[in-house]
């Protein structure tokens, strides 16, 4: 009997990461937008992966079950941390991870709305464990936003998403991509994270950097898995102060080669 119980509890080992779904409001207005977040609570020492996991790992995946006419965006990611594993580097999140999501209520919605997120993720420390869970959130119909206990956390999560819309130029010197970025303010330094795998070397995307009168010039290291010379590269750049502290969540830059002649 005891042996059976032990066997059962070994099979149903408690999950490492806890999944929750939170929203800024307890209520919804039909047809209006709401800010929400998929939350993964990780114990110390464990991590999940950024949208570009780097040299190993996979990002969390969320599938939605929503009432008719409702919509949910793909979860966004805060800026990642670099996690070294031998010579290779993964891009990860640690601690309480909030992945911001925009919800759109159906115009025809009536009554309580039951929103279900089915998520699976890989959580790693020394080894990795694939986990999955379902989180449910019920919103009541209302005439405006009724702040929930998670409102500040959700607002903070939205502020932690890197901005988009950075533009810059790309030029190839042999096999080396060279990009120039403006509009990074008075950054004393930069952290750089390629947004897609297989393009730049994750362990050291930037070979050399120098300030220009307008911004920065970066010599990049291509990934050994990259084929040819793409005409565009995407990089998250996070300005840092002289002590290396981040000045905000950074901005995603698209660097494009000038169109070649006819």
């Amino acid at each position: 009997m005891l042996a059976t119980l032990a066997a059962v509890s070994a099979l149903a080992s408690p999950p490492i990461a806890q999944l929750r779904l939170v929203c800024e409001s307890r209520t919804y207005v039909p047809g209006s937008a709401l800010r929400a977040a998929v939350v993964l609570d990780l114990p110390k020492g464990w991590h999940v992966y950024w949208s570009n996991p780097g040299d190993s790992g996979v990002p969390p995946r969320v599938r939605w079950k929503l009432p008719p006419g409702w919509k949910a965006s793909e979860p966004a990611h805060p800026a990642p941390k670099a996690h070294r594993d031998s010579e290779f580097v993964s891009y990860v999140h640690e601690g309480k991870v909030l992945l911001p999501v925009r919800l759109q209520a159906s115009r025809d919605a009536r009554g309580p709305a039951r929103l279900v997120a089915e998520a699976d993720w890989l959580v790693c420390k020394e080894g990795c464990v694939p986990e999955s869970a379902v989180a449910t959130l019920v919103l009541q119909p209302g005439s405006g936003i009724v702040p929930s206990g998670a409102r500040e956390a959700v607002a903070g999560a939205f502020q932690s998403i890197p901005a988009v819309g950075g533009r810059g130029t790309l030029r190839w010197e042999g096999d080396r991509p060279i990009v120039e970025a403006n509009g990074l303010g008075d950054a004393a330094g930069l952290e750089a994270f390629p947004t897609t795998p297989g393009v730049l070397m994750h362990r050291q995307p930037v070979a050399r950097a120098e300030r220009t009168p307008q911004g920065w010039r970066l010599e990049l290291n291509r990934s050994e898995f990259l084929q040819g010379r793409p005409r565009a590269l995407e990089l998250l750049l996070i300005p840092t102060d002289p002590s290396g502290r981040r000045l905000g969540p950074g901005r995603v830059f698209v660097f494009e080669a000038a169109p070649s002649g006819p």
Binding site: D55, S56, G57, V58, R61, A82, R84, D85, S86, E87, F88, V89, S90, D120, L122, C124, E126, G127, C128, V129, P130, A188, G189, L190, E191, A192, F193, P197, G198, M201, R203, Q204, P205, V206, A209, E210, R211, T212, P213, R217, N221, S223, E224, F225, Q227, T240, D241, P242, S243, G244
Partner: protein, 208 residues
């Protein structure tokens, strides 16, 4: 005129890279180039050298039986099926363990022998690279991470086993298997259409 970056800025710039090796060791393995030579011992203590397989296609498979991505392909029988298919075509399949002693997935030779028997591995040899030298020479970074070498000893494919980077066995059906495709194309005298992909899986558990 460009101002060279000051030292403090350089330190901050590489905050993401600081934690990694200061002198990035470019891995030697490159598609189209000779595959790095190696000699490794199998579960019986017998040494196998890559050079002794000249004239045959060789597949290298990095493994760690505790990694969920490896379990995806062995638990479903996908890896064994691919190994058997390759064996019938005369391909030499070498499964390589780079987990260091004390790290996840490390096995003593006797344990590895039992594992390969229990799970029906169809590899020609299960090789130990517990100091990680061969893995690093190939730039092996995930389990699984796959390499295909042609009869001349040239690397013709490196990367993921397939195009579905998940730990879910349900994703094997309908996935494009890059290893099988590279072998089929090369054996038909065609160039390999996808010679290199970003691998997916757990990190290789090298010695610290």
């Amino acid at each position: 005129m460009r101002t060279p970056i000051v030292i403090a800025s350089a330190a901050a710039l590489f905050a993401a890279a600081l934690v990694v090796a200061q002198k990035p060791q470019a891995s030697q393995a490159q598609v189209g180039q000779p595959a790095p030579a190696f000699t490794l011992k199998d579960t019986e203590g017998k040494a196998h050298s890559l050079s002794s397989f000249k004239g045959k296609y060789v597949v290298l498979e990095w493994t760690n039986h505790e990694c969920p991505f490896v379990r995806k392909h062995y638990g479903s029988g996908n890896m064994q099926k691919l190994q058997k298919w390759a064996k019938e075509k005369g391909v030499v399949w070498l499964t390589i363990l780079s987990s260091a002693p004390g790290k996840q997935g490390y096995l003593e030779p006797a344990e590895a022998k039992r594992l390969t028997r229990e799970q029906g591995f169809a590899c020609a040899a299960y090789l130990f690279d517990t100091d990680g030298r061969v893995g690093k020479a190939y730039g092996a970074r995930t389990t699984p991470h796959m390499y295909v070498i042609d009869p001349k000893g040239t690397l013709i494919y490196m990367g993921a086993i397939d195009d579905k980077p998940t730990a879910n066995p349900d994703d094997i059906r309908g996935a494009r298997n890059h290893v099988m495709e590279a072998l089929k194309e090369a054996m038909a005298g065609k160039p390999v259409s996808v010679p290199s992909t970003q691998p997916y899986g757990c990190s290789v558990k090298y010695a610290d």
